[in-house]
């Protein structure tokens, strides 16, 4: 299977690989997937406490090239958005951006879930009610 140019670009030069201090008040961490399924995504956001704007976003991903590219795109899109705006990122946007084939759609779903998990972690830490999220992943 050939990868799209966009996937290759992100795979070769992934944006925002790294780790934020998960103990910090302004950092939210989302860890989704499982080693048994062949993909694990950890996505972290650092949020401005006043404006709720995401100042920084980092990821580490165990998975195929499409999973790595999906995480990279997600972190790029998160920066500069408020945590409410960030919730509007839909997995299908990632699918479109990276031209993912049907067998790789789950990678984008994982990225969306990671975003939501990170935001929820931040909300919980900062005394905000957790969001009820639809379980998107169905394998």
């Amino acid at each position: 299977m050939a990868y799209s140019k966009k996937v290759l670009e992100h795979y070769e030069n992934p944006q925002n690989v790294g780790t934020l201090d998960a103990n910090k008040q302004e950092v939210g961490t989302g860890l989704v997937g499982a080693p048994e399924c062949g993909d694990v995504m950890r996505l972290q956001i650092e949020v401005d406490p006043e404006t709720k704007v995401i100042r920084d976003a980092r990821f580490k991903t165990f998975g195929c090239g499409s999973a790595i590219a999906s995480s990279s795109v997600a972190t790029e899109w998160l920066k500069g958005k408020t945590i409410d705006e960030a919730l509007t990122i839909d997995n299908m946007d990632i699918v479109e951006e990276l031209a993912l084939p049907p067998v790789k759609i789950h990678c984008s779903v994982l990225a969306e879930d990671a975003i939501k998990a990170a935001i929820n972690d931040y909300r919980k830490k900062n005394g905000m009610p957790e969001l009820q999220l639809d379980e998107k992943i169905v394998h």
């Binding site: 062949g38 991903t61 165990f62 998975g63 195929c64 790595i68 789950h106």
Partner: protein, 405 residues
């Protein structure tokens, strides 16, 4: 100058040896005849060529030419052997013994027969891919008509003790079938020494063309018969109808002849090369060789690089190096290799495996390049892997509650 891409996927298929191609070409052009045409020189020439090729193929495994049924490849041979025996020996019994690490062509054929009333025992292996001979002995009964164990495994290269397995099968009057697709032409096979009754193998794994293979069917002690699975002109002594693929068969014959002459030298050279590749890659932390390192094909190594995912890893170098991954993420199934899972490897290790399979045309320079590229890729992906970070922090991954999906 090193030419890219490098081909290290010789267990999938081998390049055709130019000496093989040369022998095939005339059989597309001037000697295009149908080997079954008995009434003119075109047919006679084709038949002579097939006879000579059949002899060469037979000789490679110490069989007689009359024991070689030419087919379209090992998948067809597997089907013909297993279904053919089931149909032919139904009076004796309906029990077949095989192993969970067999090729799909064997496993799915057995599953098909289960629906038709066959009783199949699937033996498990240990974590190196070896079956327990005592267990085999305990499951073979008077109703067992076939024991089907591959000569060497396609993913990990583990070689089975075929002679001992054959003896166990024969004690209860069962036949022994072996899928020798990966082993034939690579290591010495002798149907007499090994006690083999039926054996599948193919040309394209031994530097011959695709689309041609053989089923060895023993003629003496005992005389084995299989029921044809295709109706037609009764070619191949009634066991396999269909016009013979003359150029392919001629190529198969030449490939077998070359294998016979060069197998030992190839194996000696490739095992040194393979060991060098393996040892260099094993310098990395948390790298594990899958399979039985003592009884293994000389040209295969299967390594799991823990905490990186196989497909993601391959992507770093698969423009330049052709290998295959035990992680079948490229297919729709998302399942890791069933062979590696059958060895009891956790899904995480199974998802992290790469098979390197060397061949006659690989060079030391290519191995050097591969060592460097793979090491670099593993390190790069581990830097990106949350699992590697956790491992480095001393976090036990099994204590984490994963959101399995």
């Amino acid at each position: 100058m090193l030419k890219l891409p490098i081909y290290l996927d010789n267990s999938a298929t081998t390049p055709v040896d130019p000496r093989v191609v040369d022998t095939m070409v005339p059989y597309f052009y001037e000697h295009f005849g149908n080997a079954a045409s008995r009434s003119h020189p075109f047919g006679w020439q084709a038949e002579d060529a097939v006879d000579q090729a059949r002899e060469r193929v037979a000789k490679l495994v110490n069989a007689s030419d009359k024991e070689i049924i030419l087919t379209s490849g090992a998948t067809e041979s597997d089907n013909l052997a297993i279904k053919g025996v089931f149909d032919m020996y139904g009076k004796k019994g309906n029990h077949i013994v095989t192993v969970t690490t067999e090729h799909k062509a064997v496993l799915d054929t057995c599953k098909h027969l289960e629906k038709l009333g066959a009783q199949i025992t699937y033996l498990k292996t240990d974590n190196e891919g070896n079956i327990d001979l005592n267990e085999l002995e305990s499951v073979v009964t008077d109703k067992t008509i076939l024991v089907s164990v591959m000569y060497a495994n396609n993913e990990i290269g583990t070689i089975a003790p075929i002679r001992q397995i054959a003896d166990i099968a024969h004690k209860k009057g069962s036949l022994l079938f072996t899928d020798a697709t990966q082993a034939a032409g690579k290591i010495s096979i002798d149907v007499e020494r090994d006690g083999i009754d039926l054996m599948a193998f193919s040309a394209h794994k031994m530097y011959g063309p695709k689309g041609v293979g053989a089923l060895y069917v023993r003629r003496k002690n005992p005389r084995v018969k299989v029921t044809a699975q295709m109706d037609g002109g009764g070619h191949e002594r009634g066991m396999r109808s269909g016009t013979l693929n003359v150029p392919g068969i001629v190529g198969f014959g030449k490939a077998a002849e070359l294998a016979m002459l060069e197998m030992d030298a190839d194996a000696a050279r490739l095992s040194v090369m393979r060991d060098r590749l393996e040892n260099a890659l094993m310098q990395m932390e948390e790298a594990y060789v899958n399979g039985n390192r003592k009884s293994r094909l000389p040209h295969i190594t299967n390594i799991s690089f823990k905490y990186v995912e196989g497909e993601g890893l391959m992507m770093a170098f698969n423009q330049n190096i052709a290998v295959s991954s035990g992680s079948a993420c490229t297919s729709a199934s998302l399942e890791p290799s069933y062979v590696l899972k059958a060895l009891g490897l956790g899904d995480d290790l199974a998802h992290s495996s790469i098979r390197f399979s060397l061949g006659r045309f690989n060079t030391d320079e290519q191995v050097d390049y591969t060592i460097e590229a793979v090491t670099k890729a593993v390190n790069k992906l581990r830097e990106m892997s949350p699992l590697w970070e956790m491992f480095k922090q001393g976090i036990d991954l099994s204590t984490i509650e994963w959101a399995e999906h």
